[in-house]
Symmetry: C2
Subunit: 130 residues, 2 copies
């Protein structure tokens, strides 16, 4: 017998789809460190690259273009000599800050709760930056 506060399946999946969309924006090996670098004010390709150890130029280009298509990042070309290119978070991209902060707070707490801070949680067997 089902409790009254249970939603039906379509309501469930209605929650899952947008959450998955948000996760997709942050997922993968590179997106999050690139976004964090941009949120910290790094603007030049080479600067951002240094903040994301191990990334190739080709991959960084691809990821930045993907973020641009998602309207999270703005690419500005300045008519200097040589040409200067800057990447900045859009106002919309800045709204990711709250989401990342919620994940940050929860993740720190999780780390402390499960193992103490030096160990990784059970599901996090892959490499972490830093």
């Amino acid at each position: 017998m089902k409790k009254l506060d249970k939603t039906n399946h379509s309501q469930c999946t209605g929650i899952i789809r947008p959450v998955q969309d948000a996760l997709d924006v942050l997922n993968g090996k590179w997106k999050l460190p690139i976004i964090v670098a941009l949120l910290h004010g790094y603007k030049r390709f080479s600067e951002i690259s240094r903040q994301v150890p191990g990334i190739t130029d080709r991959m960084l280009s691809k990821e930045l273009r993907d973020l641009e298509l998602n309207q999270l990042v703005k690419r500005t070309v300045y008519d200097t000599f040589p040409v200067t290119v800057e990447y900045t978070m859009t106002n919309y991209g800045e709204t990711l800050k709250d989401v990342i902060e919620a994940l940050h707070v929860w993740g720190e707490n999780h780390r402390h709760k499960i193992f103490g801070e030096d160990l990784l949680p059970v599901s996090a067997k892959k490499d972490h930056l830093g």
Copy 2:
């Protein structure tokens, strides 16, 4: 030349690690729909299974065990005949609600912003539930 509000690389990665931990808890094909089903009050293995279309019993067992090891889910065996097993979110697991809600709000907004609600954002080419 760096602006004063830029943090150094170790501070950057100090943010990334816990955020990645939180993402790892929600990531993969099955974790999020299972957690959403549990947060909606589904307790029995078969009930949860119905809320997560396509999951095998073996995979659901594995994922529930993983969530239990992360102290997010409590498994209770009742001494009935036949034995009853219930899975519920722990108080700690319930704290994921806020994180999922933050992702949900952002993801809904993102979907509207980028394409209107019927289309997927650029980075979300894979299948979604629902």
